[in-house]
Symmetry: C2
Subunit: 372 residues, 2 copies
C-alpha cells in the first residue's frame, strides 16, 4: 500500500489538523472535497474550483462507468487528464450510488448488479471491478473499497449483514488493489447507528489494514443529532494516526461537529447542488437568493472573501440571475458555496493549530443562533 504520509501537526480536543501527502500534492486537513461527479464539479471550471482553495476533488465510479465509460476514460489518459484536474483525486467505489441512483439493483456476495438510469443497460460492480475502474481506468489517487450501503433506518440484523459483507468486500478490494506506491486504498466503516456494529466494523477494517478509514452510512436521513451521537463513539474506533473520512457530509454545522469529533476529510454535493437552486451559505446560515428581500440588497455575499462570486456581486444581482433562470446564477452560487466551505475548513485548521478550536466552534454556533 501507498500509505501516503499523514502528519498531524496539532490536536485540540478530538480535533486535529495536519497534512496528507499524496503523489499529486498535499491535502491540508481537515479537508472538504468538492464532488466532481461525472468528471466535472458541476457548473464550474477546474480553475474556479482550484481558486477556492480546494486541494482535492472527488469523482464517482458509477457515473463514470456509465458515461463516458471507464475504459474510455482510460484510453483518454485517465480522469486527471480527461477532466483537467491535476491535483489529488479521490474516487468513491460506487457502493452508495448502487443503492441511491441505480435501478433494479441486486446484491449478491459476488457483486452488485444494476441497471443504468441513463439507458437501462445492465452492469455488474464487484469489489475487483470497482478497484480496476478506480485505480486502473480512472487513475484515482485515493481509492475507496466497495461497500454495501443500506437505507436508514434499517434493523440491526440487516445493518450487521451489510457491514460484514462490506468488510469481506473490503478484504477482496485490498487483494485486488495489491501493492501500489502512488495510490492509496481506504476502507469504509459501516454499521448504521449501532455502536456494537461500528466497533466490529472497525476491528475488521483494522485487521485488513488500509491507508485511511472512512465512515459510511451516515448523512442518510438520520439527522444531525443522531449523526453526532454516532460520531461520538465511531470515530474513536478508527486508528488515530491515519486519516478519517466522513462520507457524504454535509452542511457547515456537520463539518464543524465532525471535526470536533476527529474527522479529517469530508465530501458532499450540497454546496454545488444547493447553489444550483439559489441557496448560498454564510456564517449566519443559508439564504435563498430567490427571495424578494434581496431584490435591492447592495451587499455582496461575503465582502471578506477572495472569491469573485462572493465578493464582487451584490445580492440584488444574484437575485436577478436566480429569478431569470440564468446559468450564471448556478455558476456564481456553486462557486460562492465552495469558497465558503473552503474558508470554513481553513478557519478550522487555523483554530486547531492555535489551540482555540472550542472558541471557534462556540462562535460558529453563535453566528447561526444570531441569524435564527
Amino acid at each position: 500500500m501507498a500509505a501516503f504520509p499523514f502528519a498531524i501537526a496539532a490536536v485540540d480536543g478530538a480535533a486535529r489538523t495536519g497534512v496528507l501527502k499524496t503523489s499529486r500534492g498535499d491535502i491540508a486537513t481537515p479537508a472538504f472535497m468538492p464532488v466532481g461527479t461525472a468528471g466535472t464539479v458541476k457548473a464550474l471550471t477546474m480553475g474556479q474550483v482550484a481558486a477556492t482553495g480546494a486541494n482535492i476533488i472527488l469523482g464517482n465510479t458509477v457515473h463514470l462507468m456509465l458515461r463516458p465509460g471507464s475504459e474510455r476514460v482510460a484510453r483518454l489518459g485517465g480522469l486527471h487528464k480527461f477532466s483537467g484536474w491535476s491535483g489529488p483525486m479521490l474516487t468513491d467505489s460506487g457502493g452508495f450510488q448502487v443503492m441511491s441512483l441505480a435501478k433494479l439493483t441486486k446484491i449478491s456476495e459476488e457483486a452488485a448488479t444494476f441497471a443504468s438510469p441513463i439507458d437501462g443497460s445492465r452492469h455488474v460492480l464487484s469489489p475487483e471491478r470497482s478497484i480496476a475502474i478506480q485505480a486502473d481506468h480512472l487513475g484515482s489517487d485515493i481509492v475507496m473499497q466497495l461497500d454495501e450501503c443500506i437505507v436508514w433506518p434499517s434493523p440491526e440484523p440487516r445493518a450487521a449483514d451489510a457491514m460484514r459483507r462490506s468488510a469481506r468486500w473490503g478484504a477482496r478490494c485490498k487483494i485486488a488493489f495489491g501493492t501500489r506506491h502512488a495510490q492509496a486504498l481506504f476502507g469504509i466503516q459501516q454499521g448504521s447507528t449501532f455502536e456494537p456494529l461500528r466497533r466490529e466494523s472497525s476491528e475488521r477494517l483494522i485487521e485488513t489494514g488500509y491507508d485511511g478509514y472512512a465512515i459510511g452510512g451516515l448523512a442518510v436521513g438520520e439527522g444531525h443529532q443522531a449523526m453526532c451521537d454516532t460520531l461520538d463513539y465511531c470515530t474513536g474506533f478508527l486508528p488515530a494516526h491515519r486519516p478519517r473520512y466522513l462520507m457524504g457530509v454535509g452542511k457547515p454545522i456537520d463539518l464543524v461537529e465532525g471535526v470536533a469529533r476527529g474527522v479529517d476529510m469530508f465530501d458532499c454535493v450540497l454546496p454545488t447542488r444547493a447553489g444550483r437552486h439559489g441557496q448560498a451559505w454564510t456564517w449566519e446560515g443559508s439564504i435563498n437568493l430567490k427571495s424578494a428581500r434581496f431584490a435591492e440588497d447592495e451587499t455582496p455575499l461575503d465582502v471578506t472573501s477572495d472569491c469573485p462570486a462572493s465578493r464582487d456581486y451584490t445580492k440584488a444581482y444574484l437575485h436577478h440571475l436566480v429569478k431569470s433562470g440564468e446559468i450564471l446564477a448556478q455558476v456564481m452560487l456553486s462557486w460562492h458555496n465552495l469558497a465558503f466551505y473552503q474558508t470554513l475548513m481553513r478557519s478550522m485548521r487555523e483554530a486547531i493549530a492555535a489551540g482555540r478550536f472550542e472558541a471557534f466552534r462556540r462562535e460558529f454556533h453563535a453566528g447561526l443562533r444570531q441569524a435564527a
Copy 2:
C-alpha cells in the same frame, strides 16, 4: 453629442481598422460585441468575457425593463455596477425585441405597446422612454435610437413606412438624448433590401446627425448572399468618418464579409446561443460536439488559443459534457466561441493594418471550403 473620437488607422479596400474612444475605454475596430442580454453574457462571468479580449458588450433595453426593471437597475447604480462590467457598454433600444420577443405588440406614431412574455404585463416603449432607460437608468455608453423593425420579407411600401417612422423616432431620440459628454447616440439605417429606401434612410439619419450609424433590418432571414448584396451599397451611404455597426450579425463568414464592406462593429447572440447547444466555431467552420465522432478525439478546439476552454480540454471531454447535459458544456462552448470570435476580429484588424485583408479573406474562405 459626445462624438467619441473615432480614429481610423488603416483602410484596405472598403475594410478599415481603428479605435473608437469612449469614456470607459477604447474599442478596437472592427469589433465584435458579446450580447449580455439581461445583465449577463449567458453562462459566463464577466472575467471570462473580458479574458476573450472583448472591449465592449451589449445590453438589452426590453429584457432589462421587464426584469429586474430599469428603475431598479438605476437605484442599484446602473448596469455597469449591477453586472460587474466596467468597460464600454452599448444598449439596444428595444425596437428589435418589440418585434421578435414581445407579445400583442401595437405600434403607433407615439410608441410601441406590448405585453411582457414573462408575466403578460403591458408596457409602453416610446423613443423618449427608450432613451431614458438606456441613457439614464442603465447608464449605457452607446445608446441606440428606437426603430421600427419589420419581418423579412416585407413589401416595399411597408418597409418604407417603417423606415420613415424609424427616422422620425430617431429625431425624437436625438432631442430626448440632448447634450451628453460621456455617452453617444447611434442612429439606425432601415429599408430592408431596397436600395432606394436604404439611401433615403441614410440621408434622413445624416440630416439628424448621430455619433455613429447602425445598419438594422438585416440578418432577419434574408440569407448571407442577400445580406452581402445589401451591404454592397448600404454601407457606403453612411458617413465614412463615423463607426458603422451591423446589428445582430452574425456567423464568422458574415463578419468577414461585413468587414470587407466597411462595417466596424457587430453583435450577435450566435456564439453564446450556439455554444449552449453544443456547437463550436473553428477556422474550418462549426462542429457540434454532441456528435459521436468526437467521443475519443484527444485534440482541443484550438491549441493556439489563449482561452482555457479552447486550449486545455479535449473534444472528447467536451463531447462528454454535452452528452451528459452538464452546465460546464454550456460554459465551455460559449467561452470558446466568444474567444474564437475575438480572435477572428483581431486577425482581421491585423490584416487590415498590414494591407493584406484580401489575402486573409481568401484564406478564411479556403479554410471553410477545405472542411466542406
